[in-house]
Assembly symmetry: C2
Homo-oligomer: 175 residues x 2
DNA sequence: GGATACATGTAATGAGTTACATGATTCC
DNA sequence: GGAATCATGTAACTCATTACATGTATCC
């Protein structure tokens, strides 16, 4: 659906172009490499969601466009299919397992995450600001804002957890 | 690693018990069903991270415990292995593709997410409060707080996005 | 004796990553 | 002519889910 949406938003593209766009606009939201994209495009053509034009393109490029059926399928997916809300977030997992570490070890881990998400929030704020300038607020504006808010929340969590851990460390070793 | 950590935190358990604990304490952080857990335990025994005791247990239960090597492997993973920060979040993806919808359709989608994450934040706040009471602040306290903060951030994003969308809708159709 | 919970597995399939492999065009 | 970029694919593997399959002990 990410691929189909990207194809629709670009009004037609080659697999190569889609792979490029993937690692640029949409990649903070969903990732896919070319080795996943090419077979997926073939499947979507078979399913009637996408059309191919293989003729007269330089370097053997193929040009894909979404069919009406493809557009309808995406719309249905967005509005009618219950989202899969499976969380698969290594930071959340690590935060859970952190309790198995000593306070000193936990602090090292937290410092690393704090820094990472500070930077990520920064980058996404820039992206959002850039997209806000575009007419119609631009494709990806809402998701950049969401990414910014989530990254900020994780950053602030890491600061909070650090303080909590330091507090506890002092209580337990009052030299 | 989630499974290994859970096993360590429980100081030994059966696959069945681990599957139960998975859908209770850790499942908002990482999910696994019994059909993934049983083979994974076998692999960990082969790798020397875990020991089995298959003898004299009722109903053919097996009892697993982490080895010293298993504890060291988890510690190394937490502290030295760079986290895989791949995002695979359907809400983020849907927020990206939302730009392809009409304002009315987007509002429906946003309302659904807003409500979902409001409830989720509520549940996680309760979990966190319960864990805060336990001695040592309890296993999972930090991750419950993180989940709460992320859910709250998504909830607030959905409210913000709704307001943005309503604003834009009014601008474009000033009847 | 029948339902329920305890307890363990396998098979088929799908999703995703990494590595391998190749050809076409352009730029210098 | 050689490097870089454009362009497409396949193979092997890991991870995860769903469905199938089975046996044991307890409760009523």
């Amino acid at each position: 659906m990410a691929l189909l949406g990207l194809l629709i938003s670009e009004g037609g593209a080659s697999g190569y172009t889609l792979a490029k766009s993937f690692s640029g606009s949409i990649d903070h939201v969903w990732k896919a490499g070319h080795s996943q994209i090419y077979p997926e495009l073939v499947k979507m053509v078979e399913a009637g969601l996408v059309d191919v034009d293989e003729e007269h393109r330089p370097r053997g490029a193929k040009h894909y466009t979404a069919t009406e059926e493809g557009r309808a399928a995406l719309e249905r997916w967005l509005l009618e299919v219950e989202p899969n809300r499976t969380v698969r977030n290594e930071i959340a997992l690590r935060s859970f397992l952190m309790s198995l570490l000593t306070p000193e070890q936990a602090l090292r881990l937290l410092e690393r995450e704090r820094e990472h998400y500070r930077r990520r929030a920064e980058r996404l704020a820039e992206l959002r600001n850039a997209l806000a300038e575009e007419p119609g607020r631009g494709f990806g504006y809402f998701s950049a804002e969401l990414g910014f808010r989530i990254s900020t929340a994780i950053h602030e969590w890491a600061e909070w957890a650090r303080e909590e851990t330091e507090k506890r460390e002092e209580e337990n070793s009052p030299d």
